[in-house]
Symmetry: C2
């Protein structure tokens, strides 16, 4: 479960307002069994709920399209984690800790190489905390499961693999030329090693 959470760049947070579900993408970080979620859209809702916000945080990694000889057996290879629970809005020291986890989740080593947030910036940011207590992982991998007569049909079957590939880092135009690309960004990648189809 943790490798899936850690490979994902962002998550989708689901929450409910007046019976209507909302699903918004946002940044997050993990520290042990705690998820820190960048509040953005969810935070306004949360402020209205004093006791905390029932949420679902889902992370999905796309691995490939599964083409089968039959329409029925077409599928998608993916790895997904769903965490259910109640999220709480953070303050003070814990909020800072959450921001650190979220920043480090983006790029490991980054937190020590930025200007830390001011009091005012901290106030303008929302961080939610969610414990990973009720969580499930779902993984689909491998080829199609066509069977029987279908195997002799003249239709192509197989997998079109997908990978989320980081390109070369592009410096901001105003960056002075003496500020070099930091070591932690050289050879940056999310996935520790290439996975097989199967």
């Amino acid at each position: 479960m943790k490798p899936i959470l850690d490979e994902a760049v962002y998550c989708h947070v689901g929450f409910v307002v007046d019976g209507q579900p909302y699903v918004v993408p946002t940044g997050f970080g993990r520290e042990g069994r705690t998820l820190y979620i960048h509040g953005s859209s969810a935070s306004r809702m949360l402020r209205a709920l004093s006791g905390g916000l029932p949420v679902c945080v889902t992370v999905t990694l796309l691995d490939g399209l599964v083409l089968a000889r039959s329409a029925f057996h077409h599928s998608i290879n993916y790895r997904s984690v769903m965490v259910l629970g109640v999220a709480h809005l953070l303050d003070g020291e814990e909020k800072l800790r959450g921001l650190r986890a979220i920043t480090e989740h983006m790029v490991r080593g980054r937190w020590e190489d930025v200007r830390p947030p001011t009091e005012q910036e901290l106030k303008a940011t929302s961080v939610l905390r969610l414990e990973i207590d009720e969580a499930s992982a779902k993984v689909r991998q491998g080829f199609t499961i066509d069977e029987g007569d279908d195997l002799s049909l003249p239709y192509w079957a197989g997998v079109v693999p997908f990978a989320l590939v980081p390109g070369a880092a592009v410096p901001e135009p105003r960056l002075p030329s003496h500020v070099r690309l930091p070591r932690y960004l050289r050879g940056y990648k999310r996935r520790p090693e290439r996975r097989d189809i199967g």
Copy 2:
């Protein structure tokens, strides 16, 4: 809005059961202003609700990490669409139409090159229909918005772009060698052309 929906390989569907939101990844297709959603997990819930299921369908395309000189201005470049509404479970002719849209969304041209579903397979599949009436797009692009004194800080700033890249199609091991890779899979890609950072 439509280019974002069409580029996305899958969506996240949010729905509510007893006040608890759930967010599950699933395949989908679009035909005009109609979304067809592959039912999977949501369908069991839906059967319990005769009148339809309030859902939120969110699609997110990740474009890059935005690194700023200040922790506060770190961000993610993305394009996202959120569709709100009530989903209905389909049957018969309309279900088949939905499956066609979902299959064609995976790979254009595929529906004419597979064995169509049998009656029994159709029964074992769930397709939801959702009209794109209440929808919003959110896009973040470009570099950081660091300002003032921050611009002279010695920290690297810029964008690490991301692209979802399809690899070479891998034939299923049982595929006879005379079944060649179909034309619609050669040079397969989701994104019509490479986008700029800005």
